[in-house]
């Protein structure tokens, strides 16, 4: 179905010009082997739906790349934006109705909800993986089903520990701990000094799901095993619940009701010393109109979620991937567009303009200078490398999506931490709720 041709060197003039500009700024373009392209269908035009910008630079560079693509290929691309939480229902409608945008940038396991409605992207993803050092494991899990690629991983908005360095030092921690016990100690010490931490325990789509899944997995708990049998009610899960209960004792009051924006606001107002969040807190502080908040940015540092008893990284991040729907009239144009935006010449400046918001799914992009330009960016570089996937360690599909949409893990931790239920009861109830989805 796809047409493979050698990339016409002349056609890449605009891309090379951009690279030249990059080089003139002292940024070196790594050498990558093999090039390929898909020949867009005659008269092709595309509609692309993506989540609305996290930072202005993201949108600006994305649209620049789109314009460059149109200039090179003649394919017109209309880009529509939707609030990041609203993309999923639109994608579901498009899949079910058989009409809508040609490409949708969705979240997490979206492609696994309607795999038969999607264009096979194996040729594209094999090419990109081969050229850019391979896909990280989690990216491969999210993008592949039954041995073929049904989504093209685009990146993840990483979730790391965001803390006030001076307050950690004041509490006696000049080095940030890298294990769960150390984290608990620093939290207790900062809280005792009047600088409590605060993590979202409400139904926060991003912040709530990501850190609670880390807490569960880092202690060896998981929702299902490899056969999709629910195994949530386990000693490991109860250990995780007890751990979070101890964390909660150090929290500022009110975190049970926190949604995604609450911890940002609390951190920037100086109410909390530590939270789990994207790089948005740092970004907002750096770019604030308020000099006091800009000053705070110098004191904001980041760290990856610590390693727990399980002994390896076990994080979850807001993962996004592109889906090409099989109702599109222009599958080759879609693939060429996706290939184009994932190439170093486009992806690297886009990722840099997003200022660390977007972690890459391809290993070669570790070399992007944005990750070392500021030491505070570096932890976000490794997010996809360190992540598992929602529904770990079962398969992705209806149940994994529904269980997360129902906040089973988040609410289990919230109930146990707040004392509404004992850890044993919270685990048992969550287990029952999960079984309802995994029975289907």
């Amino acid at each position: 179905m796809s047409n493979f041709t050698r990339r016409n060197v002349l056609k890449t003039g605009a891309g090379l010009a951009a690279t030249g500009a990059l080089a003139s700024k002292g940024l070196i373009r790594p050498a990558f082997a093999q090039d390929m392209s898909f020949t867009p269908e005659d008269g092709a035009s595309l509609r692309v739906l993506r989540w609305s910008k996290f930072v202005q630079g993201d949108e600006d560079l994305f649209l620049q790349n789109v314009a460059k693509f149109t200039e090179m290929t003649g394919v017109q691309v209309q880009v529509d934006n939707e609030s990041w939480e609203d993309v999923r229902p639109k994608a579901a409608v498009a899949a079910n109705v058989g009409s809508g945008p040609d490409i949708i940038f969705g979240w997490y396991d979206d492609p696994h909800q309607y795999p038969d409605k999607l264009v096979d992207l194996t040729d594209l993803c094999d090419y990109l993986g081969g050229k850019y050092g391979g896909w990280f494991d989690a990216a491969q899990t999210y993008g592949m089903r039954d041995g073929r690629w049904i989504g093209m991983p685009w990146g993840a908005s990483g979730n790391c520990l965001v803390y006030r360095k001076s307050w950690a030092e004041e509490a006696g921690f000049s080095e940030w701990p890298s294990d769960t016990e150390g984290l608990l100690e620093v939290m207790r010490a900062m809280s005792a000094n009047g600088h409590p931490p605060g993590f979202a325990l409400g139904n926060a789509v991003g912040d709530g799901n990501t850190w609670t899944h880390w807490a569960l997995w880092s202690h060896g708990g998981k929702m299902v095993d490899e056969n999709n049998t629910v195994v949530l009610n386990s000693p490991e899960t109860i250990a995780a619940l007890n751990y979070v209960k101890q964390m909660y004792e150090t929290f500022i009051p009110g975190t049970i009701s926190w949604l995604d924006p609450n911890n940002n606001r609390a951190f920037l107002s100086g109410q909390i010393s530590l939270t789990a969040n994207g790089i948005s807190v740092f970004y907002a502080a750096k770019n604030s109109d308020d000099p006091a908040i800009r000053e705070m940015a110098d004191d904001i540092y980041h760290a990856n979620m610590p390693i727990g008893p399980v002994g390896t990284h076990s994080e979850l991040h807001l993962f996004t991937q592109a889906m090409v729907f099989n109702y599109t009239q222009y599958p080759n144009a879609c693939k060429e567009f996706l290939r184009f935006i994932m190439e170093w010449d486009q992806y690297q400046p886009w990722q840099a303009a997003a200022e660390g918001y977007i972690c890459h799914p391809l290993q070669a992009y570790d070399e992007n200078p944005i990750w070392t330009a500021d030491v505070r960016n570096t932890p976000y570089r490794d997010c996809i490398r360190n992540m598992l996937y929602n529904g770990y360690s079962g398969s992705l599909g209806y149940a994994s999506a529904a269980a997360m949409a129902d906040y089973i893990v988040v609410n289990m931790f919230a109930e146990a931490a707040s004392g509404a239920k004992s850890p044993e009861d919270a685990a048992a109830d969550a287990h029952r709720r999960a079984e309802r989805y995994y029975r289907i």
């Binding site: 509609r47 739906l49 609305s52 910008k53 996290f54 930072v55 209309q78 529509d80 934006n81 939707e82 609030s83 990041w84 609203d86 229902p89 639109k90 409608v93 079910n96 109705v97 058989g98 009409s99 809508g100 945008p101 908005s157 991003g206 912040d207 995604d260 924006p261 940002n264 606001r265 920037l268 107002s269 100086g270 109410q271 969040n277 994207g278 948005s280 907002a284 604030s288 109109d289 308020d290 006091a292 908040i293 918001y357």
Partner: protein, 296 residues
């Protein structure tokens, strides 16, 4: 004791609202409940206003008075009006709400009149069926409606919303108008029938003029429901320039987990003004439709 009873009786015998004349009673029975009611109704508007004119620093400042603004700014409103497509979204919302309201009222008048006055077999069940249709949540209907919107080729146009909003506006308006038509004395129509008027003439010259308060009431409800609708507007519209206010401000003013609270509240406040203005023009009719219709 007897005197006290007589005195109470005398007060009641004076009839009407005389028992409210003493100031303490007025305070307890009227002013305090009224003040609570006004506070509950107006507080959201006050909150939206305060946040809309608060600078970012004050919005996140620890210990700042959340109910007051020290250094008011129009930056959020300026950003909303001049750096986003808000005026265009407002126009889209107005267009969709107005047209779908008139379309729905037209259909609802015919349906309600037929059910209430023609008295054919099963008319009660039809009325009940229409009401039950209103109870079907949009979250169930939006996928089948999407298929129809696509089939008609109106996806991503205002027509997609203008044609789908009546699916919940017509049942609601019909149910409301059925109740109102029921309160109009049937004898008036019988007189007109004796004088040789047709059904259509009775509807347009007798019933509708008497039902104006009910029409206004249904119209305000329909307009407000259209104005605030979210899920269809989210599903059927893709392009930013075709979006309505409720969807567009979330798309444009929420960036990841950073909410532009000032502009969001300015958008919500400005977006609620047209409905408030519309309501203020027709409040008398609206109240009369709520408190009873034409008396026999």
């Amino acid at each position: 004791m007897t005197d006290a009873v007589s005195s109470d009786k005398a007060v009641h015998d004076e009839g009407g609202m005389a028992y409210l004349t003493s100031l303490p009673r007025k305070v307890v029975t009227i002013y305090i409940p009224l003040a609570i009611f006004i506070f509950v109704l107006l507080f959201p508007f006050y909150w939206m206003t305060v946040v809309a004119i608060k600078p970012d620093g004050e919005l996140i400042e620890q210990g700042a008075n959340p109910f007051w603004v020290d250094n008011p700014t129009l930056d959020h409103i300026r950003h909303l009006l001049f750096e986003t497509s808000y005026p265009h979204w407002l126009w889209n919302t107005m267009l969709v709400a107005t047209v779908s309201t008139f379309l729905s009222l037209f259909c609802a008048v015919l349906a309600a009149y037929a059910i209430e006055r023609l008295r054919y077999t099963g008319s009660r069940y039809v009325g009940m069926g229409i009401f039950l249709a209103y109870l079907v949540p949009p979250s169930i209907l939006f996928i089948p409606l999407s298929i129809m919107v696509q089939a008609y080729g109106v996806r991503d146009t205002p027509l997609a919303l203008i044609l789908t909003y009546p699916t919940f506006l017509i049942p609601f308006s019909t149910w409301l108008l059925m109740g109102y038509f029921r309160s109009i004395p049937y004898e008036l129509e019988e007189c007109a029938l004796i004088d040789g008027a047709s059904r259509l003439q009775i509807l347009t010259k007798i019933t509708l003029p008497l039902a104006v308060p009910g029409l206004i009431s249904a119209g305000i409800f329909a307009f407000t429901l259209s104005w605030n609708e979210f899920i269809y507007a989210l599903t059927f519209i893709d392009a930013s320039e075709n979006k309505t206010v409720p969807v567009a401000i979330v798309t444009e003013l929420v960036t990841g987990d950073i909410y532009a609270w000032g502009s969001l509240m300015a958008g919500a406040l400005l977006g609620s003004l047209p409905v408030a203005i519309l309501y203020s023009f027709f409040v008398d009719h609206y109240v009369s439709s709520m408190t009873g219709a034409v008396k026999e």
